[in-house]
Symmetry: C2
Subunit: 172 residues, 2 copies
Protein backbone atom coordinates (compact mmCIF):
# COMPACT_ATOMS: atom_id res chain seq x y z
CA UNK A 1 0.00 0.00 0.00
CA UNK A 2 1.38 3.31 -1.11
CA UNK A 3 0.78 6.85 0.09
CA UNK A 4 -1.51 7.20 -2.90
CA UNK A 5 -3.63 4.31 -1.68
CA UNK A 6 -3.75 5.66 1.86
CA UNK A 7 -4.77 9.10 0.67
CA UNK A 8 -7.45 7.72 -1.62
CA UNK A 9 -8.90 5.53 1.14
CA UNK A 10 -9.41 8.51 3.41
CA UNK A 11 -10.56 10.82 0.65
CA UNK A 12 -7.47 12.96 0.49
CA UNK A 13 -4.90 13.85 -2.05
CA UNK A 14 -1.47 12.28 -1.47
CA UNK A 15 0.38 15.53 -0.67
CA UNK A 16 -2.09 16.36 2.09
CA UNK A 17 -0.68 13.50 4.13
CA UNK A 18 2.46 15.53 4.58
CA UNK A 19 0.53 17.97 6.75
CA UNK A 20 0.21 15.17 9.27
CA UNK A 21 3.34 13.10 8.80
CA UNK A 22 6.86 14.06 7.85
CA UNK A 23 7.52 10.95 5.78
CA UNK A 24 6.32 7.50 4.95
CA UNK A 25 8.31 6.05 7.81
CA UNK A 26 6.65 8.49 10.18
CA UNK A 27 3.35 6.91 9.15
CA UNK A 28 4.80 3.46 9.77
CA UNK A 29 5.93 4.59 13.19
CA UNK A 30 2.47 5.90 14.03
CA UNK A 31 1.00 2.60 12.87
CA UNK A 32 3.55 0.80 15.00
CA UNK A 33 2.49 2.74 18.08
CA UNK A 34 -1.16 2.22 17.24
CA UNK A 35 -0.60 -1.51 16.77
CA UNK A 36 1.27 -1.77 20.06
CA UNK A 37 -1.50 0.07 21.86
CA UNK A 38 -4.13 -2.12 20.27
CA UNK A 39 -2.22 -5.22 21.31
CA UNK A 40 -1.59 -3.98 24.84
CA UNK A 41 -5.16 -2.81 25.33
CA UNK A 42 -6.44 -6.29 24.54
CA UNK A 43 -4.03 -8.13 26.77
CA UNK A 44 -6.03 -10.49 28.96
CA UNK A 45 -4.47 -9.62 32.31
CA UNK A 46 -7.77 -9.40 34.09
CA UNK A 47 -8.76 -12.83 32.84
CA UNK A 48 -5.85 -14.57 34.52
CA UNK A 49 -6.71 -16.89 37.37
CA UNK A 50 -3.40 -17.55 39.07
CA UNK A 51 -3.41 -21.10 37.71
CA UNK A 52 -0.08 -21.13 35.82
CA UNK A 53 -0.98 -23.39 32.93
CA UNK A 54 -4.27 -21.63 32.30
CA UNK A 55 -2.74 -18.19 32.49
CA UNK A 56 0.18 -18.94 30.19
CA UNK A 57 -2.19 -20.50 27.69
CA UNK A 58 -4.32 -17.38 27.74
CA UNK A 59 -1.28 -15.22 27.02
CA UNK A 60 -0.08 -17.31 24.10
CA UNK A 61 -3.55 -17.72 22.72
CA UNK A 62 -4.10 -14.00 22.82
CA UNK A 63 -0.82 -13.37 21.04
CA UNK A 64 -1.32 -15.95 18.31
CA UNK A 65 -4.93 -14.99 17.67
CA UNK A 66 -3.96 -11.34 17.47
CA UNK A 67 -1.22 -12.09 14.95
CA UNK A 68 -3.42 -14.39 12.91
CA UNK A 69 -6.23 -11.84 12.85
CA UNK A 70 -3.91 -8.97 11.88
CA UNK A 71 -1.08 -10.42 9.79
CA UNK A 72 -0.01 -7.01 8.50
CA UNK A 73 0.37 -5.77 12.08
CA UNK A 74 2.22 -8.94 12.92
CA UNK A 75 4.67 -8.11 10.19
CA UNK A 76 5.00 -4.51 11.31
CA UNK A 77 5.25 -5.14 15.05
CA UNK A 78 7.02 -8.46 15.38
CA UNK A 79 8.73 -9.36 12.12
CA UNK A 80 10.65 -6.24 11.18
CA UNK A 81 10.43 -7.12 7.52
CA UNK A 82 9.41 -3.71 6.17
CA UNK A 83 12.40 -2.51 4.13
CA UNK A 84 13.49 0.89 5.35
CA UNK A 85 11.60 0.98 8.62
CA UNK A 86 12.46 0.52 12.22
CA UNK A 87 10.46 1.95 15.08
CA UNK A 88 11.66 5.02 16.95
CA UNK A 89 13.03 4.41 20.47
CA UNK A 90 9.86 5.81 22.05
CA UNK A 91 7.70 3.49 20.01
CA UNK A 92 9.89 0.48 20.63
CA UNK A 93 9.74 1.07 24.38
CA UNK A 94 6.03 0.31 24.35
CA UNK A 95 6.53 -3.19 23.00
CA UNK A 96 9.48 -3.71 25.33
CA UNK A 97 7.26 -2.99 28.30
CA UNK A 98 4.73 -5.51 27.06
CA UNK A 99 7.39 -8.19 26.79
CA UNK A 100 8.57 -7.42 30.31
CA UNK A 101 5.08 -7.96 31.67
CA UNK A 102 5.15 -11.41 30.10
CA UNK A 103 8.44 -12.05 31.88
CA UNK A 104 6.89 -11.06 35.19
CA UNK A 105 3.96 -13.35 34.52
CA UNK A 106 6.37 -16.21 33.93
CA UNK A 107 7.96 -15.44 37.28
CA UNK A 108 4.57 -15.44 38.92
CA UNK A 109 4.06 -18.91 37.44
CA UNK A 110 7.18 -20.07 39.20
CA UNK A 111 9.35 -19.91 36.09
CA UNK A 112 12.52 -18.00 36.82
CA UNK A 113 14.98 -19.48 34.33
CA UNK A 114 16.59 -16.54 32.55
CA UNK A 115 16.15 -18.22 29.18
CA UNK A 116 12.44 -18.79 29.77
CA UNK A 117 11.27 -15.53 28.25
CA UNK A 118 13.29 -16.11 25.08
CA UNK A 119 12.05 -19.66 24.70
CA UNK A 120 8.50 -18.58 25.45
CA UNK A 121 8.62 -15.82 22.86
CA UNK A 122 10.13 -18.17 20.29
CA UNK A 123 7.33 -20.64 20.91
CA UNK A 124 4.63 -18.01 20.55
CA UNK A 125 6.20 -16.48 17.48
CA UNK A 126 6.66 -19.87 15.86
CA UNK A 127 3.04 -20.79 16.35
CA UNK A 128 1.86 -17.44 15.01
CA UNK A 129 4.27 -17.60 12.12
CA UNK A 130 3.27 -21.06 10.98
CA UNK A 131 -0.40 -20.26 11.42
CA UNK A 132 -0.11 -17.19 9.20
CA UNK A 133 2.23 -18.70 6.61
CA UNK A 134 0.72 -22.14 6.19
CA UNK A 135 -2.89 -21.95 7.31
CA UNK A 136 -4.14 -18.39 6.97
CA UNK A 137 -7.71 -18.13 8.13
CA UNK A 138 -7.57 -21.56 9.74
CA UNK A 139 -6.68 -22.81 13.20
CA UNK A 140 -4.21 -25.63 12.60
CA UNK A 141 -1.51 -24.13 14.83
CA UNK A 142 -3.93 -22.36 17.15
CA UNK A 143 -5.13 -25.81 18.17
CA UNK A 144 -1.58 -26.67 19.20
CA UNK A 145 -1.34 -23.84 21.72
CA UNK A 146 -2.59 -25.75 24.74
CA UNK A 147 -0.19 -28.61 24.18
CA UNK A 148 2.71 -26.31 23.40
CA UNK A 149 2.26 -24.30 26.57
CA UNK A 150 1.95 -27.48 28.61
CA UNK A 151 5.19 -28.68 27.04
CA UNK A 152 6.88 -25.40 27.94
CA UNK A 153 5.52 -25.33 31.47
CA UNK A 154 6.43 -28.93 32.21
CA UNK A 155 9.94 -28.38 30.97
CA UNK A 156 10.47 -25.14 32.82
CA UNK A 157 9.13 -26.34 36.14
CA UNK A 158 11.23 -29.46 35.89
CA UNK A 159 14.61 -28.10 34.87
CA UNK A 160 14.60 -24.91 36.90
CA UNK A 161 12.95 -26.17 40.07
CA UNK A 162 13.07 -29.95 39.88
CA UNK A 163 12.35 -30.32 43.59
CA UNK A 164 9.15 -28.28 43.44
CA UNK A 165 6.00 -30.42 43.45
CA UNK A 166 4.09 -30.14 40.22
CA UNK A 167 1.48 -27.41 40.48
CA UNK A 168 -1.60 -27.32 38.41
CA UNK A 169 -0.31 -29.79 35.91
CA UNK A 170 -2.76 -31.67 33.78
CA UNK A 171 -2.44 -34.21 31.02
CA UNK A 172 -4.54 -33.39 27.97
Amino acid sequence: MSLRDIARKIGMQPPSLYSYFDSKNAIYDAMYVQGCRQFVDGEPWDELTGEPLHDLRRLVEYFVRFCAAHPARYQLLFQRTIPGFEPSPESFAISQASLERVGHQLNRCGITDRRAIDLFSALGTGLADQQISNDPGGDRWIRLIDGAVEMFFDYMTKTTTPETPARGRRRR
Copy 2:
Protein backbone atom coordinates in the same frame (compact mmCIF):
# COMPACT_ATOMS: atom_id res chain seq x y z
CA MET B 1 16.55 -5.27 -5.27
CA SER B 2 15.17 -4.50 -8.68
CA LEU B 3 15.70 -6.11 -12.05
CA ARG B 4 18.01 -3.20 -12.83
CA ASP B 5 20.15 -4.03 -9.83
CA ILE B 6 20.28 -7.69 -10.77
CA ALA B 7 21.25 -6.87 -14.34
CA ARG B 8 23.93 -4.46 -13.23
CA LYS B 9 25.41 -6.96 -10.80
CA ILE B 10 25.88 -9.55 -13.53
CA GLY B 11 27.01 -7.03 -16.13
CA MET B 12 23.90 -7.12 -18.26
CA GLN B 13 21.32 -4.66 -19.39
CA PRO B 14 17.92 -5.06 -17.74
CA PRO B 15 16.02 -6.20 -20.86
CA SER B 16 18.47 -9.04 -21.40
CA LEU B 17 17.11 -10.74 -18.30
CA TYR B 18 13.94 -11.39 -20.21
CA SER B 19 15.82 -13.80 -22.47
CA TYR B 20 16.19 -16.03 -19.44
CA PHE B 21 13.09 -15.33 -17.37
CA ASP B 22 9.56 -14.44 -18.33
CA SER B 23 8.97 -12.11 -15.42
CA LYS B 24 10.23 -10.96 -12.09
CA ASN B 25 8.26 -13.69 -10.35
CA ALA B 26 9.92 -16.26 -12.59
CA ILE B 27 13.21 -15.09 -11.15
CA TYR B 28 11.82 -15.40 -7.65
CA ASP B 29 10.70 -18.91 -8.47
CA ALA B 30 14.15 -19.87 -9.72
CA MET B 31 15.64 -18.40 -6.57
CA TYR B 32 13.12 -20.38 -4.54
CA VAL B 33 14.17 -23.60 -6.22
CA GLN B 34 17.83 -22.72 -5.81
CA GLY B 35 17.30 -21.93 -2.13
CA CYS B 36 15.44 -25.21 -1.58
CA ARG B 37 18.21 -27.15 -3.27
CA GLN B 38 20.85 -25.37 -1.24
CA PHE B 39 18.95 -26.14 1.95
CA VAL B 40 18.34 -29.75 1.01
CA ASP B 41 21.91 -30.33 -0.14
CA GLY B 42 23.21 -29.27 3.25
CA GLU B 43 20.81 -31.35 5.30
CA PRO B 44 22.83 -33.32 7.84
CA TRP B 45 21.28 -36.75 7.25
CA ASP B 46 24.62 -38.52 7.18
CA GLU B 47 25.59 -36.98 10.50
CA LEU B 48 22.69 -38.51 12.37
CA THR B 49 23.55 -41.16 14.92
CA GLY B 50 20.28 -42.83 15.75
CA GLU B 51 20.24 -41.19 19.15
CA PRO B 52 16.93 -39.31 19.03
CA LEU B 53 17.81 -36.23 21.05
CA HIS B 54 21.10 -35.73 19.22
CA ASP B 55 19.57 -36.20 15.82
CA LEU B 56 16.65 -33.85 16.38
CA ARG B 57 18.99 -31.24 17.74
CA ARG B 58 21.12 -31.51 14.64
CA LEU B 59 18.10 -31.00 12.40
CA VAL B 60 16.89 -27.93 14.25
CA GLU B 61 20.35 -26.50 14.54
CA TYR B 62 20.90 -26.90 10.83
CA PHE B 63 17.61 -25.19 10.06
CA VAL B 64 18.11 -22.26 12.42
CA ARG B 65 21.71 -21.70 11.39
CA PHE B 66 20.73 -21.82 7.73
CA CYS B 67 17.99 -19.24 8.28
CA ALA B 68 20.20 -17.01 10.40
CA ALA B 69 22.99 -17.15 7.83
CA HIS B 70 20.66 -16.44 4.90
CA PRO B 71 17.83 -14.24 6.17
CA ALA B 72 16.74 -13.24 2.68
CA ARG B 73 16.36 -16.90 1.74
CA TYR B 74 14.53 -17.48 5.00
CA GLN B 75 12.08 -14.83 3.95
CA LEU B 76 11.72 -16.25 0.45
CA LEU B 77 11.48 -19.93 1.41
CA PHE B 78 9.74 -19.99 4.73
CA GLN B 79 8.03 -16.68 5.37
CA ARG B 80 6.08 -15.99 2.19
CA THR B 81 6.31 -12.28 2.76
CA ILE B 82 7.27 -11.22 -0.76
CA PRO B 83 4.26 -9.30 -2.09
CA GLY B 84 3.16 -10.83 -5.37
CA PHE B 85 5.05 -14.08 -5.19
CA GLU B 86 4.19 -17.63 -4.42
CA PRO B 87 6.19 -20.61 -5.63
CA SER B 88 4.97 -22.71 -8.51
CA PRO B 89 3.64 -26.17 -7.60
CA GLU B 90 6.81 -27.86 -8.90
CA SER B 91 8.97 -25.62 -6.77
CA PHE B 92 6.80 -25.99 -3.71
CA ALA B 93 6.98 -29.78 -3.99
CA ILE B 94 10.70 -29.66 -3.26
CA SER B 95 10.21 -28.02 0.10
CA GLN B 96 7.27 -30.30 0.84
CA ALA B 97 9.50 -33.33 0.35
CA SER B 98 12.04 -31.87 2.74
CA LEU B 99 9.40 -31.40 5.40
CA GLU B 100 8.23 -34.96 4.95
CA ARG B 101 11.72 -36.26 5.59
CA VAL B 102 11.66 -34.41 8.88
CA GLY B 103 8.39 -36.13 9.69
CA HIS B 104 9.93 -39.51 8.98
CA GLN B 105 12.86 -38.64 11.19
CA LEU B 106 10.45 -37.82 14.00
CA ASN B 107 8.88 -41.23 13.52
CA ARG B 108 12.29 -42.84 13.64
CA CYS B 109 12.79 -41.09 16.98
CA GLY B 110 9.66 -42.75 18.29
CA ILE B 111 7.49 -39.67 17.87
CA THR B 112 4.32 -40.54 16.03
CA ASP B 113 1.86 -37.96 17.32
CA ARG B 114 0.23 -36.45 14.25
CA ARG B 115 0.68 -32.94 15.63
CA ALA B 116 4.39 -33.48 16.25
CA ILE B 117 5.55 -32.22 12.89
CA ASP B 118 3.53 -29.03 13.19
CA LEU B 119 4.77 -28.35 16.69
CA PHE B 120 8.32 -29.19 15.65
CA SER B 121 8.19 -26.84 12.71
CA ALA B 122 6.68 -24.09 14.84
CA LEU B 123 9.48 -24.49 17.34
CA GLY B 124 12.18 -24.36 14.67
CA THR B 125 10.60 -21.42 12.90
CA GLY B 126 10.14 -19.52 16.15
CA LEU B 127 13.77 -19.93 17.09
CA ALA B 128 14.93 -18.88 13.64
CA ASP B 129 12.52 -15.99 13.57
CA GLN B 130 13.53 -14.56 16.93
CA GLN B 131 17.19 -15.06 16.15
CA ILE B 132 16.90 -13.09 12.93
CA SER B 133 14.55 -10.40 14.22
CA ASN B 134 16.06 -9.69 17.61
CA ASP B 135 19.69 -10.80 17.51
CA PRO B 136 20.92 -10.77 13.92
CA GLY B 137 24.49 -11.94 13.74
CA GLY B 138 24.37 -13.26 17.30
CA ASP B 139 23.48 -16.62 18.81
CA ARG B 140 21.03 -15.78 21.59
CA TRP B 141 18.34 -18.13 20.30
CA ILE B 142 20.74 -20.58 18.72
CA ARG B 143 21.96 -21.32 22.23
CA LEU B 144 18.41 -22.28 23.18
CA ILE B 145 18.17 -25.03 20.58
CA ASP B 146 19.43 -27.88 22.72
CA GLY B 147 17.04 -27.09 25.54
CA ALA B 148 14.14 -26.49 23.19
CA VAL B 149 14.58 -29.83 21.45
CA GLU B 150 14.89 -31.59 24.78
CA MET B 151 11.66 -29.94 25.85
CA PHE B 152 9.97 -31.11 22.67
CA PHE B 153 11.32 -34.63 22.89
CA ASP B 154 10.42 -35.07 26.54
CA TYR B 155 6.91 -33.87 25.90
CA MET B 156 6.37 -36.01 22.83
CA THR B 157 7.71 -39.21 24.31
CA LYS B 158 5.61 -38.67 27.39
CA THR B 159 2.25 -37.74 25.98
CA THR B 160 2.21 -40.04 23.01
CA THR B 161 3.86 -43.11 24.56
CA PRO B 162 3.72 -42.55 28.30
CA GLU B 163 4.50 -46.18 29.03
CA THR B 164 7.71 -46.20 26.99
CA PRO B 165 10.83 -46.03 29.16
CA ALA B 166 12.78 -42.84 28.60
CA ARG B 167 15.35 -43.31 25.89
CA GLY B 168 18.48 -41.25 25.66
CA ARG B 169 17.18 -38.53 27.88
CA ARG B 170 19.64 -36.19 29.47
CA ARG B 171 19.32 -33.16 31.68
CA ARG B 172 21.34 -30.10 30.60
